[in-house]
């Protein structure tokens, strides 16, 4: 669909020089650059304040008006964050949650996407229509039933076979990962990609007698690396930044993720802005670094992820 066309068009921007620029006079160019610089600075300002405040000493935070440049580069706030009693645990939880969600998306979405793109089976049209239809279901308006379903998973957390009696998967990694473990968007993305791989690759393997899974695993998956990269980066980013599922599906301090931890730190009784900003910086920087390395993939994929809503 249009997704594919849009992607390839976007990459073309970089190569194609626009004749328009030749017609732009110098004066206008300077004004244009000026406006862009202003907009860029305004966009960056919250980040710059975040970093600047994270280096300030306690007393300096309460100066009014606040100064943009901190008086010294003190790393104390960062040490305070790292030595918070729960921050190590929260980092582990965030990593387990984000990696778990990423890996399960990569596996399940590519399997399903391959089946929808390349295999013949009864009910294919219905299954594909269902996936596209589920793209439109607003996930955040389902917080109550998802909570109840996670609580009532049979045989988990002391539940009997009917799902009663225990806490199910609440307060577990499995429970947190479940609502994000495969997404209609991911299946759709992978299906679109597999559809574009020439059928010849598969047919020759099939003539050699290879099984479906072997063809998928040995031939198509290696070809799908770019799509897997997009799906992986987007899944990791969205799980790392996720707030509502960890908030609802866990209530013990041991299971809090970094996002929950940051919210608790900021709303806590003895919140210090400089320490809060240090933690916000520490949470934001890894994602920005990942983005800078995978920029092309992520931006192309982001156009597609608009479908996710």
């Amino acid at each position: 669909m249009s997704v594919v066309a849009t992607q390839s068009n976007l990459t073309r921007t970089d190569e194609r020089s626009f004749p328009l620029s030749r017609f732009i006079p110098w004066g206008e160019r300077i004004v244009g650059y000026g406006l862009l610089l202003f907009a860029a600075f305004a966009t960056m300002a919250p980040f710059l304040w975040m970093v600047s405040t994270s280096f300030k000493a306690d007393a300096e935070v309460f100066q009014f008006p606040p100064s943009f440049i901190p008086q010294g580069l003190g790393w104390q706030n960062y040490l305070d964050v790292i030595y918070l009693p729960d921050s190590g645990r929260q980092l582990v939880n965030s990593l387990v949650f984000a990696l778990g969600s990423t890996i399960s998306n990569l596996i399940f979405c590519s399997l399903a996407g391959y089946a929808l793109a390349r295999m013949q089976f009864r009910g294919k049209t219905i299954v594909f229509a269902l996936v596209v239809g589920l793209l439109m279901v607003p996930a955040q308006s389902q917080i109550v039933p998802v909570f109840l379903i996670v609580q009532k998973i049979p045989f988990a957390g002391g539940n009997d076979w009917l799902g009663n009696g225990g806490t199910g998967l609440l307060n577990t990694y499995w429970g947190m990962i479940l609502p994000t473990a495969a997404t209609p968007f991911g299946i759709f993305l992978m299906r679109q990609f597999f559809t574009r791989i020439p059928i010849e690759y598969e047919e020759s393997a099939r003539l050699d007698g290879a099984k479906s899974f072997t063809i998928f695993w040995r031939i198509l998956l290696p070809l799908a690396r770019p799509a897997m990269a997009v799906l992986g980066v987007l899944s990791f980013q969205s799980a790392w930044n996720e707030f509502i599922w960890p908030l609802i599906l866990t209530n013990s301090r041991d299971m809090a993720t970094l996002q929950i931890g940051l919210q608790l730190l900021q709303s806590g009784p003895d919140a210090r802005w400089n320490v809060v900003m240090a933690m916000a910086t520490l949470i934001t920087v890894p994602i920005i670094i990942v983005f800078l390395f995978a920029q092309r993939f992520v931006i192309d994929g982001a156009v597609t992820s608009g479908v996710k809503g």
Binding site: A40, W49, Q63, A112, I143, I149, L178, N241, L292, G309
Partner: protein, 295 residues
């Protein structure tokens, strides 16, 4: 073994395909389909944490219609949605038009405009709470240095929603920019050439050619932004908690409170059902337009 799969009929192939699909479909069933159905079912009951559920018919919906707080939440959600959607699209379009030509540092600007999209919502919200801080925050610092009085941003019922909207626009316009940049590539260069030969001004080229040609992209983007803004939760949870005086309480926030604060799951499900159908309506309209754009 190889001979078996070579001779495998469509029946065997089908089972193979089902095996490929099963895990993903099970997850989608548990996390989206069953919840969507369950929400509607639960909205006709008084289900709660401990109590066994009773069928109450349309009672929850009658209660919703008479609930002043819910009406306020609907009003707030609409205000927020409109306030976020249109400025976001306008800024996104401006940024896309500005960056849709080759010049030095173009990618740097694009990256900068896209950074807020990448930031976690909670980190962004926490930073903005600091920016809006009434006694030592940079926004009031700027206001004072411009000779304006300091404002109680997040603690004033008149300003709090506006403050949330500004932050949301800051966070979302990068998405709009990226989608518009992709859309701009689909406009044939010949149309611009022709317009320039006719001596059209820059502004009229933008207004008469670029904007209309981006029609389907714009509509698609509008639906995404509306659907996303309708579901706003995290920013409200962190920045205002629905206050002051309920002035920033939105539908999803009220759903969360009703379910997990007052444990009235049935009533919360009724709210969710209303929201669900509104969002579904917008999505369906959006998809239709998208299809038409493709054809």
């Amino acid at each position: 073994m190889p001979s078996r799969s070579a001779t495998a009929g469509p029946f065997n192939r089908s089972w193979g395909a089902y095996a490929f699909l099963a895990p993903a479909l099970l997850i989608l069933f548990l996390s989206l389909l069953l919840p969507a159905i369950a929400t509607i079912g639960m909205s006709f009951t008084d289900i709660s944490f401990l109590r066994p559920a009773n069928w109450v018919g349309l009672d929850n919906y009658f209660r919703l219609m008479a609930d002043g707080r819910f009406q306020q939440a609907i009003g707030n959600t609409m205000y927020y949605t409109l306030g976020v959607t249109f400025p976001t699209m306008a800024l996104g379009l401006l940024a896309a038009v500005a960056l849709n030509r080759k010049f030095p540092f173009r990618i740097v600007f694009r990256t900068i405009f896209y950074l807020p999209v990448l930031t976690s919502l909670i980190a962004a919200a926490v930073v903005w709470v600091y920016l809006y801080e009434p006694y030592s925050g940079p926004v009031n610092g700027l206001f004072v240095s411009l000779g304006l009085g300091p404002q109680p941003w997040l603690s004033s019922p008149n300003l709090a929603m506006m403050a949330l909207i500004i932050m949301a626009v800051w966070r979302d316009f990068g998405t709009a920019m990226i989608i518009y940049l992709a859309g701009l590539q689909d406009i044939p260069e010949e149309i611009y050439e022709a317009a320039r030969l006719d001596g059209a001004s820059k502004f009229s080229i933008l207004w008469r050619i670029t904007v209309p040609m981006l029609g389907s992209v714009t509509f698609y983007l509008m639906i995404i932004l509306i659907v996303q803004s309708f579901q706003v939760f995290g920013a409200i949870y962190v920045m205002t908690g629905g206050g002051p005086l309920g002035s920033t309480e939105t539908i999803v926030f009220q759903m969360y409170q009703t379910a997990f604060g007052y444990t009235e799951f049935g009533y919360s499900a009724a709210m969710s059902t209303v929201l669900f159908f509104v969002i579904l309506l917008f999505s369906l309209v959006g998809t239709k337009i998208m299809r038409r754009g493709e054809g």
